[in-house]
Structure formats: structure tokens, C-alpha cells
Amino acid sequence: MHSRVRSIPALQIERLRFAYRAPDRATFELALDSLVLGYEEEMLLVGRSGCGKSTLLQLIAGLLEPASGAIRIGGTDITTLRGATRDRFRGHHVGMVFQTFNLLQGFSARENVLAALLMSDVAKGEWQSRAEMLLRSLGIEQLDARAEELSVGQQQRVAIARALACRPTLVLADEPTASLDPENAVNAVRVLRDACREQGAALLVVSHDPGLESHFARIERLSEVKAQSPSEGAVR
């Protein structure tokens, strides 16, 4: 495990504001005044469907541009980074796990993890061994099976291995259990938590699944989203 500067939080959000327009042309605003997540800390962010949980994760990953505020990952404000620098930073410091796993079709389990390492600053000589180690530690033995040939549970674990491949500071999981039955959901969360802890990464899970709440010591509720109908004009 590589060294972390423990005095700096893995994730620190300050006065975040983001406005967006939904398909029905209603406009929404997401506002989050403060959120801090330490290294190896786990947090479940809950909220009703459509409250902006996934949007928050995309803001943290630098995939969306906030109207204002700061999002610091390991001390670096991702909102101040631009273009390829931000993309590289995301590749090096943020791992993401999705509800639909988003594995690369046509790629094997091993190649899905290697694709993440290709974008990383991990030395090329370590790629193969790290990919194999991660996949095997998560119980994947069919390293060269194509993603679409794996079971749903295996796909989820490959997605977790890929998210952790670059030794990220922070892992963001967006509804990671929504495609799984209750039993597999519990297993997936356990695997995800164990893997993040082992790799020393902070874990932020967003879900509207109340069944997950018993697994996390820290649970936050996202309720700052305000909506206005088109007739009510623009967001504040």
C-alpha cells in the first residue's frame, strides 16, 4: 500500500453548487455546503431517487462542471484542473463502480482492469501482476473470459477490481447493488468495502437501497436539491 498524507482528507467538498436542466425542462440545483471523507473511511449517501446522488458523484469525478465550490481529492481541487490534466487526475485518483458495471464489451476481465492501468501512473511492469492479484483476491479465476461471458456477480467484482486498479484515493460507487438480488447485494457491498479497506481507499457509496444502511457506520442524507418547474423561472 502506498503512503497517504493522512492529515489531508481523501475527499473534501466546500460550498458546492450545481444547476442542471432535466428532460422535462424543469431545472434543479444541487447544493452541498460541506462534506469530508477521510482515508479508509466509508460513507453511504442516501436520498430519494432523482435527488442528485449520481450527479454529485460525477461532479466529484470531474465529469461535470460545478457552478461554484471546491472538490478536493487528496488535497487537489479537481474543479481547478482542466482538460487532459483533470482526466489524468481522475484516472490516477478516482475509481468508479456503476450500477450497470460499465465493463468494456469485448474485453476480458483482465483487459478491463488493464485498461484502467493503461491510464494510470502505475509502472507498466506491474500491470499484469496487479490486475491478476486484484481479480484473484476478488474471486475471479476466469481472467481471460470476456466481460459478457461472466455472471452478474462476477462482472460486479471485475468492476470493483478495475476501480481499485490504480490505487485510487477515493472510490465512488453509484447504486452498486441495484442490479443484484438482496443476497448478492450484501455480498457485493462486503467485497467492495473489504477491497477499499485493503487498498487504503476512501469509499463513497450512493444508493436509495435502505437495505445497505445497516452495513455502513456513516450515513449521510442528500436532501439539498431544490427543484423549480419551468414556469417558476431559473434556479437561484
Binding site: 487532459a84 482526466d87 489524468r88 490516477h92
Partner: protein, 428 residues
């Protein structure tokens, strides 16, 4: 794992459409390359065929027909040159080469050229490349025959074989007139005494014997028509039998090159004689290719248009897969790939399709050239030796690849502009 692996996997996921597009590009590039190669091969074959003759005299209707019949053995010439005229021509200038030929007989549809021994000593089938014998020697007696390399290959006749000729051939049709009735000269058997090495010219598909042998056979026919039944010999020949269908001429020259200073004046002098047709073989070949040049341009333009349309097919194929591709792009962006890197990945994909298609096109061209060569040989008896011009292959391959890269620009820009947030999961 490298960026190329990502490109290859992306192509493999769409293997059917990738395969179809590569096949399209290969056919287009191969077609263009085949046309270019055949064009130069045809020109080369005709240029080679004229050999070292400066002039060709005959009684054909036009200089071009004279060259096609007299040097490329397209049809037996119709009107003969008699012995008196032949003597006048020989005496009119101190020729470096004066080789009369009589064409009209055939053996298994290969034309038989009756000529003098100088045909093998002074006439060169290809400029600066004298005849070479694979086996045996030139004829030095009557009723001996030398066979071209293609004749030897196809008939598998060894030295010492005995053969008889046919008067006329399936190629003997003149204009719209009736086909000449073949007549086998069974009374006169020829012995194969020499087999020539390949020349890459129509001579490879011909047989060569002495003029007197040919005259004797035709005198025998005349005797039979006149009701005189005897085996004709050289002693029985009359002036009317001693005819030829063409004369290959070469002027003396002390300067290098194949155009001595006196050529123009001798050509003009002979042209003033209205009883003969005089041709500059090299000029006639150039004129022939001048006539077909515009058709060449048309064919090349059509092949190039096909190539452009295959580039459009690359673009359409990539655009069709854009929905699937957007998700892949979004995943790669999440993993840390920059927009620029995505742009180059997609552009590399289209370029690779062009490159593989171009390489396959070279293979298609080789197959097409082989088929065209066989067809020209069997259908027209013309020997062309098309060779894949490496320079043309490189230019066509590079052009195809560049076109494919250009075709990939629009999909690459769309991939560059792909919204990650929108293509991973709806906002919520």
C-alpha cells in the same frame, strides 16, 4: 495492453461490419491497383513486342493494323508482297536488317511465322535482348521448326517432334468476312529443332520455320487446285509462290538509341510508295495506347470513385456504431482517457481499417492480375506479364489509408465531444 489493444478490441466487437468494410476497401484498392498494373503491363507487352525493328512494311490497310498483324500476330495479313517488290525494297537502301515474314499458317491455333535465318541473328524480339534458345537451335534447313516458350509449355513438345501445320486458324477472320476454312498440310511434316526462352512478347506463342518451307506447302496447294498431283519441292516453286506478308527493317546506326537520323527520311520515302504500307512500330504502339488512354483515365477514375465510396462506408459503419461507441468512450473517459486520446483512438480505428483493407487490396490485386493474365491468354492469345508496381502499391495503400483516416474524422470528433455523464447513466 496498449491503445492499439483498445482499438483492436473495439473492431473485434463489431467484427461483422468491420469485416465487410475491410472487404469493401480491399476490393476497391485492389481494383485500382489492378487497373494501374494492367495498364503498364499492356503497354510494356506491346513495347517489348516491337523489338529492334525500325520499320515494318506490309500491304495491310493501315500502319496500326500492319503492326498488330505483323508483330503481334493478331490476324494473318491479307495482301502479300511479291518477290519483285521484295527485291526492290531490299535494294532501295543498305538496311542493317531486312527480314521478310510470311504469316498465315498455324499449329493448334498458334501462328506459324515463315521467315529467314536472319530472324534469329539480326532481329531482336525485345530491344537489346537477342533470342535465346532454351533447347536446340535455329532452323537451318527446310521443314525444321523453332517453337516459342508458351507453345512448348502448352504442347509439351520435345525437340525432334514431328508436326504438321494448318493453313489458316481460328484467328483468321478478316473483318466481317467468312472464316477461312482450315486446311491441314498433311504432306509436309516439320521437325522441332529449337525451343526459345520466354521473351514476354507475342513471339512466345508462335512457331518459326523457313520461308521456302511455307512456299512449298502453299505451292502444293496451288498444284492440287490446278489438278497437278505431285509432292512439290523447292525446285517447283514459281515467282507467284515466293510471296511474303511483311518485312522487318532496321537502319544502320552508329549513335546510341533506337532512332537513327535516317529513319524519318526512309520512312517518308517508303510512304510515298502507294503499293505498300509502312509503319513505325514504336509509334504505332504509342498511338494505340494514346487511343485507349482516355478509357484508362475513365477506368482509373471509376476505381478511385469506388475507393472514395469505401471510405464513406468506413464513416457510415463507424457512425452506425456510435451509440455503442459512446458508452465505451464514456467508460474510457472515466478511467482517465482524455478527449484527445479518445479522438486519436477512434481515428486510429478508421485508419487501421484502411491500412488492413489496403494490404488485403494488394492480395486482391495479385489474384485479379493472375485472372486477367489467364483470360487475356486464353481469350485473345496476348501475353501480358502484369507486375505489381511497388510504387503504385505504396501510393494506393497510402492513399487508401489517408482516405480512411479522413473518413474517421467525423466519428472521431463525435467521440471527442461525447458527454460522459449522459452516456453512463441518466442524471438523477
Amino acid at each position: 495492453m496498449s491503445d492499439l489493444t483498445i482499438v483492436l478490441r473495439s473492431l473485434a466487437v463489431r467484427r461483422f461490419s468491420t469485416g465487410v468494410v475491410i472487404a469493401l476497401v480491399a476490393i476497391s484498392a485492389g481494383l485500382l491497383l489492378a487497373i494501374l498494373s494492367l495498364r503498364s503491363a499492356g503497354e510494356r507487352a506491346f513495347e517489348r513486342g516491337t523489338g529492334n525493328a525500325h520499320l515494318l512494311v506490309s500491304r495491310d490497310g493501315s500502319p496500326l493494323v500492319s503492326v498488330l498483324n505483323g508483330m503481334f500476330y493478331a490476324n494473318p495479313p491479307k495482301a502479300p508482297i511479291d518477290e519483285k517488290k521484295l527485291g526492290e525494297l531490299r535494294a532501295s537502301f543498305p538496311w542493317a536488317m531486312f527480314v521478310p515474314t510470311a504469316i498465315g499458317d498455324s499449329y493448334r491455333n498458334f501462328p506459324v511465322i515463315a521467315t529467314t535465318p536472319e530472324f534469329f541473328t539480326k532481329f531482336e524480339p525485345v530491344l537489346d535482348e537477342p533470342w535465346k534458345f532454351a533447347e536446340g537451335r535455329a532452323f537451318d534447313k527446310n521443314f525444321e521448326v523453332v517453337i516459342g516458350s508458351a507453345v512448348a509449355r502448352e504442347t509439351r513438345m520435345p525437340i525432334g517432334s514431328k508436326i504438321v501445320f494448318t493453313h489458316g486458324s481460328h484467328l483468321s477472320r478478316e473483318g466481317d468476312g467468312p472464316q477461312m476454312e482450315p486446311h491441314v498440310h498433311e504432306e509436309y511434316a516439320f521437325t522441332v529443332v529449337g525451343i526459345l526462352e520466354p521473351t514476354g512478347a507475342p513471339h512466345d506463342r508462335a512457331l518459326f520455320c523457313s520461308l521456302e518451307s511455307s512456299w512449298v506447302m502453299h505451292a502444293h496447294d496451288r498444284f492440287e487446285r490446278e489438278g497437278k498431283h505431285k509432292l512439290v519441292t523447292v525446285e517447283d516453286l514459281e515467282e507467284q509462290d515466293r510471296v511474303v506478308t511483311g518485312v522487318l527493317l532496321r537502319l544502320p546506326s552508329r549513335v546510341p538509341g533506337n532512332a537513327p537520323p535516317a529513319l524519318v527520311s526512309q520512312y517518308d520515302r517508303l510512304r510515298r510508295d502507294g503499293t505498300i504500307t509502312v509503319a513505325l512500330p514504336a509509334n504505332e504502339v504509342q498511338r494505340l495506347f494514346g487511343i485507349v488512354a482516355s478509357l484508362d483515365v475513365l477506368f482509373i477514375a471509376m476505381a478511385a470513385a469506388t475507393l472514395v465510396s469505401s471510405a464513406v462506408a468506413i464513416m457510415l459503419s463507424m457512425m452506425n456504431s456510435m451509440g455503442e461507441r459512446r458508452r465505451q468512450v464514456a467508460i474510457l473517459r472515466v478511467l482517465g482517457a482524455s478527449r484527445g486520446r479518445i479522438f486519436w483512438l477512434v481515428l486510429t480505428e478508421s485508419t487501421l481499417v484502411g491500412l488492413v483493407g489496403a494490404a488485403a487490396g494488394v492480395a486482391v490485386c495479385v489474384v485479379a492480375l493472375f485472372a486477367a493474365t489467364q483470360w487475356m491468354l486464353s481469350a485473345h492469345g496476348i501475353v501480358i506479364a502484369p507486375q505489381l508496381d511497388p510504387r503504385a502499391a505504396v501510393i494506393v495503400a497510402m492513399g487508401t489509408t489517408v482516405l480512411a483516416a479522413i473518413a474517421g474524422i467525423v466519428p472521431s470528433v463525435l467521440a471527442y465531444r461525447t458527454s460522459v455523464a449522459r452516456n453512463l447513466r441518466p442524471l438523477g
